[in-house]
């Protein structure tokens, strides 16, 4: 989502980007494949030959294809899906493909793995990259045979002539490398009917390494002579050390140095070290143990009295008063005065923490000539720039190696922890690994904003919804960077509030000031979390007020098949950085996921007392998702989620298996949001510290069964990582209402 702040450099394929890469190395991978080599079937070429028509592809004389995964792997399967797109157009054989992770470098185009746009942004460019290599291999074969290129066709790692003779990619690699790059406009992409990988189920490339423990996450990187550092950070974000005593810490065997890093002040920015007292040791345990021996006195800043309970109550007070208008259609006050029924509701979602299983960690090695880092980061280019800035170096002298990410969910889009490692390495003159403990992670996160929302709906005598007032109050993300950013931004409201699609004649959306008082960041689906919770909850309340089945109510409100023009809503509505004409808001797709969910969930089926179904539907990251949850609430208020049916229209699903896994996991991730997780801050300090008091869903909490139904589509691919989250909590709460008659308007759910 950072792209909404920092204008994204949408990668366009151009000749400039297709610079012949010299960075692609080929390590010796022995392949158990034997090659025949006859006149009619030449497979191999000069072993030293290398054909690299663009930065993503390199083909060696032995036929091995190296494809670059330039975006970060945090569990979505992107490190597999993007290379599969290239391989499909390249007509490569998958067992002849090796995937290599790119370092952070602008030459690869956008690498900020965030906002669920990796496939959306790169689907066509990577197809073109593959098609370019394929076209040149066909041209090389045509030249070799002295025939017209139209009689040569690439298929399964060979070019086949109409006569039946073939030449292997290895044989052709050296020859293709001497040809001029074709014009982008002349490239022919495959007919989707001929896709051999795209749209087919496949396993991720790291699967076996993960289950054998060989996979290397950030925490697992080994660099010789690396010290380990932990930092004691101020409970209040961004303030500094008044004084500290390291005598006891220095007595812990293995501790080599204790020193302080100055704070950035508040706001902290996304990419600056928080500061604090650093303990450096020969090993992880000595560093942790040494830190426990520190005594530190902290400065007090402007947020020393920040307490979320009173802050949220204040936000709600303001939410009930007239605010700054962000969308205004018709005359909502008049509509309310003419209504026969008025509904009012207040919604609260607490502060949330990412809590990825791998805490932030990085290795940095600063030398006289530059800095090399190894880190699990979502945005390797911004990491590179941030480290360079912090060290006062040219970015050219900073190298960022991207490891696997042990979860991220938005946390690792912020490179602050890598900057910490770089500053420490510079100070101590050796490589260092920064380790965040779980306590560090929970207490010094870039949190999901706490929010208060007020909604008012008017229904007229004809049982039509005529007025919709929605006020949303939360500290904005940009408040982490700029102190004058103290009210929700248009891009945040476009995540589920001002893009509200229902046909209601009079709509007004408003916000209030809410200063950011601790670090706020992006959490999986961002403001869609609170906005979908309120909007989809309110839609269900409307259904009951109207006395209409909730599915029918949604169909009534969404209206006829059409393309919505956001500009009729508000100038502020953004479409996930895409033009409306490229990714229009289509009500027919919205309706299709609803009607499919009705069918797949057996909506309206007879359920025992204490059980119920709830539905929510939401478009986020350009993907349409309907979610039906079936729940049982036991006598002791124990909530059992029996079944979740997700229906997803994400255009072409490049790997349907991984789309499904994102939604299955999304249901569990959202169960945490709905039922378990809450960060509270008191006098500037986070009260939770680890998984015993910051709760996330365990196997015993998670849905018993999640069925994911993907709508067949030849549309442009859209997001899959974040869209599972927004509709889940409201669908669950709507189901609890159906089961018990209790309305839930505050998370996490507390039934007792």
């Amino acid at each position: 989502m950072n792209t909404l702040v920092e204008e994204s450099k949408i990668f366009k394929v151009s000749r400039r980007d297709f610079i012949k890469s010299t960075s692609v190395g080929l390590s010796g991978l022995m392949l158990g494949i034997s090659f025949s080599c006859t006149d009619s079937k030449k497979l191999l070429g000069d072993p030293n030959a290398r054909f690299a028509p663009n930065v993503y592809i390199s083909i060696a004389g032995n036929g091995l294809v190296t494809l670059i995964a330039h975006r970060s792997e945090m569990g979505t399967g992107i490190r597999t899906s993007l290379p599969r797109i290239i391989a499909d157009e390249l007509e490569a054989t998958w067992n002849m493909v090796k995937v290599e992770q790119a370092e952070g470098d602008e030459k690869y185009g956008d690498q900020n793995t965030d906002g669920s746009y990796s496939v959306r942004m790169f689907f066509v460019p990577l197809r073109k990259a593959g098609a370019m290599a394929r076209t040149m291999l066909e041209q090389a074969a045509a030249k070799e045979w002295n025939v017209d290129v139209s009689s040569c066709k690439a298929k399964d790692h060979e070019v086949v002539h109409t006569s039946g003779k073939t030449l292997g990619y290895g044989y052709l690699a050296g020859k293709a490398s001497t040809l001029p790059l074709p014009d982008e406009g002349t490239l022919k992409l495959k007919d989707p009917a001929d896709f051999k990988f795209i749209g087919k189920q496949f396993s991720i490339v790291d699967l076996e390494d993960i289950v054998t423990g060989k996979a290397k996450f950030g925490m697992d990187t080994v660099v010789p002579n690396t010290k380990v550092a932990v930092i004691q950070r101020s409970p209040e974000a961004g303030v500094g050390v008044k004084s500290f005593n390291a005598d006891a810490a220095m007595k812990v065997p293995g501790v080599t140095k204790v020193f302080k890093i100055d704070p950035p002040g508040f706001p902290t920015a996304f990419n600056k070290a928080l500061g604090g007292v650093v303990v450096v040791a020969e090993n992880t345990w000595s560093a942790m143990k040494g830190r426990k021996e520190l005594t530190v006195e902290w400065e007090k800043g402007n947020n020393a009295d920040y307490t979320t309970s009173t802050y949220i109550a204040d936000m709600m007070k303001r939410a009930k008063t007239k605010g700054k208008v962000r969308r205004d259609n018709g005359n909502v006050d008049k509509a309310f005065s003419e209504s026969t029924k008025i509904l009012e509701a207040e919604f609260i979602v607490p502060t949330l923490s990412h809590a990825s299983m791998e805490t932030p960690t990085a290795i940095a090695s600063v030398t006289g000539s530059g800095c090399e880092v190894w880190a699990p980061v979502q945005d390797s280019q911004n990491t590179r720039k941030s480290v360079a800035d912090a060290l006062g170096m040219d970015v050219k002298n900073v190298k960022v190696n991207v490891t696997l990410l042990g979860g991220a969910f938005g946390r690792k889009s912020m490179p602050d922890f890598v900057v910490e490692a770089a500053l420490i390495s510079k100070e101590i003159g050796s490589p260092v690994k920064i380790v965040w403990t779980r306590e560090d992670d929970i207490q010094h996160d870039f949190y999901h904003s706490p929010s208060a929302q007020y909604m008012k709906v008017g229904i007229n005598k004809d049982n039509q919804v005529v007025g919709w007032l929605h006020r949303s109050v939360f500290p904005p993300i940009m408040g982490t960077v700029m102190s004058d950013a103290n009210e929700p931004a248009g891009f945040e409201l476009s995540l589920g509030m001002i893009d509200m699609p229902y046909v209601i004649g009079n709509v007004r959306c408003e916000t209030h000031v809410a200063p950011t008082r601790t670090r706020i960041g992006w959490l999986r689906s961002v403001c869609n979390i609170q906005h979908a919770f309120a909007v989809c909850g309110m839609i269900d309340e409307i259904a009951h007020a109207r006395g209409v089945d909730p599915v029918q109510n949604i169909m009534d409100l969404i209206g006829e098949d059409r393309t919505i023009d956001f500009k009729t809503f508000s100038e502020e509505v953004a479409n996930y950085n895409e033009k409306q004409e490229d990714f229009p808001w289509e009500t027919a797709r919205f309706k299709k996921v609803v009607t499919t969910a009705k069918e797949k969930s057996n909506w309206g089926k007879q359920l025992p007392k204490g059980s119920g179904q709830g539905i929510a539907v939401h478009r986020s990251f350009l993907t349409y998702v309907a979610c039906v949850v079936e729940v049982t609430v036991g006598d002791n208020n124990k909530i059992t989620i029996n079944k979740v049916d997700y229906v997803v229209d994400c255009g072409i699903a490049v790997n349907p298996e991984r789309v499904k896994s994102q939604f299955e996991g999304g249901a569990s991730f959202s169960t945490s949001i709905a039922m378990k997780s809450e960060i509270t801050i008191k006098n500037g300090a986070t009260e939770q510290s680890n998984f015993h008091n910051y709760l996330i869903a365990r196997m015993t909490d998670a849905p018993l069964e999640t069925a994911v139904h993907i709508i067949e589509s030849d549309g442009k691919p859209t997001g899959a990582g974040e869209p599972p989250v927004p509709p889940f909590a409201p669908a669950l709460c709507n189901a609890i209402f159906a089961a018990t008659g209790k309305r839930i308007r505050q998370l996490p759910i507390k039934l007792a």
């Binding site: 080994v222 779980r438 196997m699």
Partner: protein
Amino acid sequence: MAIFKLNVNGQTKDVDALPDTPLLWVIRDNLQLSGTKFGCGMAQCGACTVHLDGTAIRSCSIPVSSIGERSVVTIEGISDGTTLHPVQKAWIETNVPQCGYCQTGQIMSAVALLAKNPTPTDQDINNAMSGNLCRCGTYERIKKAIHSAAKISAQ
């Protein structure tokens, strides 16, 4: 610092560590076996699960000085390097992992469960696995894979 003689994955290793060092950090820092993960440091998440005399334990919360002669098995020790353990096979067939970070701990808990209870029910699985967190939310597939591993082992 002190020298401890440990039996890890069938081999005897001398390690030099502070006596209160959690087994996890000895495994990771001294023995450089990085398949065992750090997640919480207080036995809440299970990412650090290893076997101590066949029982699944949280290596982040047991000091190296208390291990003695008991056998420690990590994820690197459950298969011989050529054939995967049935649980690992089931994990691959079921495409369980997403980010993968917690999965070695999940697998170690599942292996210990199946060694004691070759045909666990869903409830048995819940009981044995609820100490292992997965933030990506792969629980349904973990359950499926354990049932599937039970079948593979029975063959």
